[in-house]
Each structure stands twice: as C-alpha cells, then as structure tokens.
Assembly symmetry: none
Homo-oligomer: 186 residues x 4
DNA sequence: AATGAATGAGCCTTCATTCAT
DNA sequence: AATGAATGAAGGCTCATTCAT
C-alpha cells in the first residue's frame, strides 16, 4: 500500500523534527541527542521515534532535500549541450550543496540507506552522474583515470577541507572546487 | 628539568596504551572509549589516565610519530634545490602520512595542542611548510591564491576522500594527491 | 505557569526517591551515592536525575517539609503575645526539627539554594526569626550581643552535639536546648 | 619492644606528612586524597602508608598535639583551687582547641582509636575532666544534670556552630563558649 | 498519534590501596 | 625505607530506547 497520507498534525510534527535536526546538522552538531532534538522541535521523544525509527533514518530525511536538489542539478548537467560545462556545473553544484549540508556526504557514500526512497534517488543520481562524467571524458575534457565514485568522494573531501578552517567555509569551498576542476582536467 | 626518564615497566605500559590507541585510530575508531583502550592494552584505566590525562593528550601522543616524520619530510622539501619538486614532495609525503594516520589531521588543524612539545613541532612544521610554498609560488609553479593553510586542509580532505571508499585507500590517495598537485599549478 | 502537576506514576516515583533520600539522611548518611538511593527507591538512576538534577536539589527537597514546619513555628512564635515565650518556643521547635532532620542545618546555612521556592521560604524564615529575636531582646529576656544568625548556628551546633553520643539523641537535644535558652538570657 | 626510634630521615618524612595533613585539616578539607597529601608533603604515597596505615591513624596523629595540649589544660584545671574557675578554664580551653582543630571532635568522640597511645590519653583526659566537673558540681556552680560526656559534646557542638558562619570563627567561638558556660550554671 | 517518564547500559573520572623497583 | 606506577572498584552522569498513559 502507498504510505498512508499523514494526518495534518502528524505531518506538521514530522516537519518540525526535521527542521530541528536540519538546524543541528547545519550547525555542525550532528550528534545532538535525540532528546534534545525533540525538545527543540517541541515534541516528545516518542514522536521522533515514530517518524524516524533510527537516527540514520532521520539523517537521511534531513538529506532528502539536498539530495533532490543535487538530482535536479545532475539532470540539468546531463542535458547541457556542452559536456565540459555540464560536468563543471555538476561538480560546482555538488560542492555547494555538500558544504551546506554536513551529513550529506555520509548518507551519500554510506552503506545502508534504510529508506527505499533514498536508495532509489541515490541510484539515479549516481547513474546520471556517471553519464555526465562519461560524456566529459569522451570529449577529452576530464582525465580518463577518474571514476564517478572518485569525483563523489573528492567533492566530500573538499567539503571536509573547507570546513576545517575557522569562520565561513563557503569562500574556501569555492576555491577548492576550482582547484579540483583544474586537477581533473587531462 | 627533562621529563624524568620513565621506569622500564611504566614505559612499557605507556607504549602498550599508545599501541592500542594507534590501532584504534588506524581502524578509524578514534572515539574508542578509554575503558576499552585500557582493556586492549591490558592495563587498568587508571594507568591510561596516568600517562594521558585527557583524550586529547593521548591522540597527540599517537600523532607524535607521524608528526616527526612529516617534519623531516618538510625539512627535506625545504632543502630541495628544485622549488617545484620540493613542494610536490611535501604534498605527497603529507598525503601518505595522513592516509596512514587517521587522527593526524585533527591534531594538526585542531586548536589546542595540550602538550607543549606538539605545539612546538606543529609550529615549526607550519613555518617551514610556508617557506616551501612561498618558494614554489615565487618560482611560478604553484597558484598564487593558495595559502599554506589551504594546502594543509586540502591534504586532509584528500585523506578523508580516499578513506570514504571501501578497501585499500592507498591507491586512491595516490591518485587524489596527483589530482591535487595538478590543480595547484597556476 | 505552575509547575505542571506530575503524572500519577511520576509523582509516586518522585515520592519514593524522596523517601529513600529522607531515610538515608535521617540515618546520618547524607552522602549516600545517588546510585544507591535509586536502588533503594526501586527506580533507575535516570529517574533520580530527572526529578532532582543535582544532589543539592534532592537535599533541598528532603528538607522542604521540615522547613515548612519550622516556618509555621516561627510564625506562631512571632504571634505569641509573650516575647520571651515566643522566642523560647522558636528555639525549642528549631531544636526538635533539627534533631530529626540531619541535612537541615546545611541547607539552612548553606550558600546556594538552587530552588527558588527554598530560597523564598528561607528568606522569610530568617526575617521572621529576626523579628522574634528583636522583640525578645527589647523585652530584656535575651542577651543583646546575640544575632539571629548566632541563634541559628547554635541550634545547629546543639543538634550536632546531641547526635554525637550513641542511641537516642532526642533526650540529649532537649537538655541541650534548655541549656542554650538559659545561656541566652542576659 | 619500644617503638624503634625512627631514622632521622624517616622522622622528617613523618613530620612532613603530618604537617601537610594538619594544614589540610585546618583548611577544612579533611577529606583530601592521600595522594594529594603525599604530594604536598613531598613524599610518595607509600611513605604515607608506612607511617600511617589508615586514614584514621593519620587523623589521630594530627590530633595528637592538640590532645596533649588539652590534657595539660585539664590537669591544670583539676589543680585549680577554685572549682568553678577550673571548670570554666577547662571549657574555654577545650573550645579554643576545638575551633583550631577541625578533626579533633571526631577523634575525641569517635569510637575506635586505633592507636593505643591515643586511647590512653583520651581515657585520662576523660577521667580528669570528670573530676573537674564533679568538683564544680559539688561546689554548686554547675548544673547537676549534666555529665562530662555532655560537656564534651557541647564543646564540639559549639565548635561546629562557630564554623558555620563565614570568615573568622574565633570570635564567634568565644561568645558561644561564654553562652555555654552561662547555660551550664544551675 | 503523541507524550514524556522510566530505564539502565555505558562512559568518564577519581582515589584508596598494593606492590614492584 | 621510600617511591610512585598500577590497579580497579565506585560513583557520577548522559542518552538511546521503550512503554504506560
């Protein structure tokens, strides 16, 4: 059966929890106690558990929005007539999204996406990204010895690096992304 | 006064604890409970606390050897007559060491090195690395908009990235390092 | 808002913990581990912490009942038409209550009452007691060089003294209280 | 055999430990870790244990000097031709000594004096004090319903009371002692 | 469905005490 | 005799998770 449409109040609660978790994750505190997330969301712990049976499930849900965003970008990249431009666009978008969503990398590269929906999105993401890379490679604008998985990991790495310094990581992330793109050329 | 030579048995215990911690860190489990480290080392918890009053102190001790190693490399890099070659050597060495010592990055980029010795080594490391970069920049073989801090962070990021995939990260790390070096050229 | 009426079962647990703590305190073991109090109360440690975030909070709660009792007495004393009689009544009541509630003195004379309610009661207690003493002094039935604080401390001291011997401290406390009253006369 | 005369250095160590413990006790920190006492004394923990097998033994040793002092006073009191004056002198001395030696009361009224020497002194102290009280009672200058034990306890209580307030307890102790003496009159 | 009280395992840390050096 | 390293029991506290209301 399709996942029963949530009652209005249930949906609102779910959203609140999600918002609290998102805020925590963005603030870099991805290990915030569930008790505390519940408190900030203004709901009981039980409610958190009802909507998200495991912490992993919650993190995935948090990552769901950026994942959709990235999916859109990768599709747009695949549709770009310029293979090199499309690839660059993809990498830049991934970098931007990664830097704004701390847990993102873990879910994307982690092993067990509990939720089927996430798994599906992830699979598509990877498949399309692979095509984008393939095309760029064929056009001779990207090194041949680099896989889609490498690119994905490198984007994560760059996000990690950008976050290591103090203050605003965005500027750093931008620079690092350009470095990465330069390094990826043949 | 010099830090009083340890008694033979004390030194052995210290080494055991260190070995257990090192193993844990290499295995990627840098947050292993001190209890557990003590158990694996075959000593009481108290002994761990005696030798390393804080977890940070223990991590620093674990990182001490690779830090010394890297320090030697950076000195050698500074002595290399070829600025570009010296710089590349430094980055490659840093990459290799980082990949073999998970906690390394954190201690290197973290804020408060409890132990004075670590602080000193770290300071020298950074100073010399800065000179190496400066020289490479002056020789026109490295982009001008990249600081020593950036390089340090990027090496960490690359280590992180290499570790994200399954199995042997070494090969990946090597590739990523070359990408980084390529990206750093003007 | 009023402190939300506790759920029936929560209230029962709170009471059990309180009872266990009270028993321990009366038995003179005011430093009983919270672990042990939890065990005796038949609840988990967490429950103790939920109801009383700190040991101090628990002690204050334990002392709350006798504090209320004493407050009633001191008010009655203030209302007594006979200044000397009122004062004596106050001292005797304080002695009796002190002897039955070991931690009482510490909370009363200690510095930081965590709970606002305790602080308020304490303040009123002291204020009214001061008036009782004042009146007695004015009537010439109490030495002029003794402050309310002194009386408070002396009552604690007498409780302490009464508890030092073996067996039943009550009888001793009574005698010591009379000695104190005699000594306080001009 | 008589307790083998200590070697000079052993005696010095013993004295150092004693001094450290005394200082801690006077500072009101009678529960200072033995490790810490050893450190302050500049000796190893083992040395503390050698000289004082139990914490109780150490406390008794700390109390030994004031005990001797009090013993002298009580003898002097017994020798005083004036029964009332002798008694008052005894109480005042006890008060003064008690206020300067926090652990004193506990050792004096506690149950198990591990050291035989302490036990002996204590016994004599009590015996002589009893005679002083007896004489005062016979002279009609002290209430008849008060035992030597009571007086001892009351002095402890007064010390306790004096220490409850902030800052300098000496002044308070003096006042409280006079109150006690007044209260003890028939 | 929601709540939040209760639970208890588990980690952290301290310190009395022992014992090899 | 002295030392201080080692030990481990004990207590403090947190937090994921369950479940009665």
């Amino acid at each position: 059966m399709p996942p029963a449409p949530l009652r209005a109040d249930a949906a609102r609660n779910r959203e609140r929890v999600l918002a609290a978790a998102r805020a925590a994750v963005i603030a870099g505190d991805a290990s915030l106690p569930l008790n505390e997330i519940a408190r900030r969301a203004g709901v009981g712990v039980g409610t958190v558990y009802r909507h998200f049976p495991t912490r992993q499930a919650l993190l995935e849900a948090v990552t769901d929005e950026p994942l959709a965003l990235l999916l859109a970008e990768v599709r747009a990249a695949a549709a770009d007539p310029d293979p090199g431009g499309g690839f660059a666009r993809l990498v830049r978008a991934a970098g931007r999204i990664e830097i704004d969503n701390v847990g993102f990398a873990e879910v994307l590269t982690g092993d067990d996406p509990a939720a089927a929906a996430t798994a599906a999105k992830r699979a598509e993401l990877i498949a399309v990204a692979e095509r984008v890379l393939e095309r760029a490679r064929a056009a001779g604008v990207v090194r041949a010895d680099v896989t889609a998985g490498d690119v994905q990991r490198l984007v994560c790495g760059i996000g990690h690096a950008a976050r290591l310094g103090g203050a605003d990581p965005h500027e750093r992330a931008e620079l690092y992304t350009e470095l990465l793109l330069a390094g990826l050329r043949p």
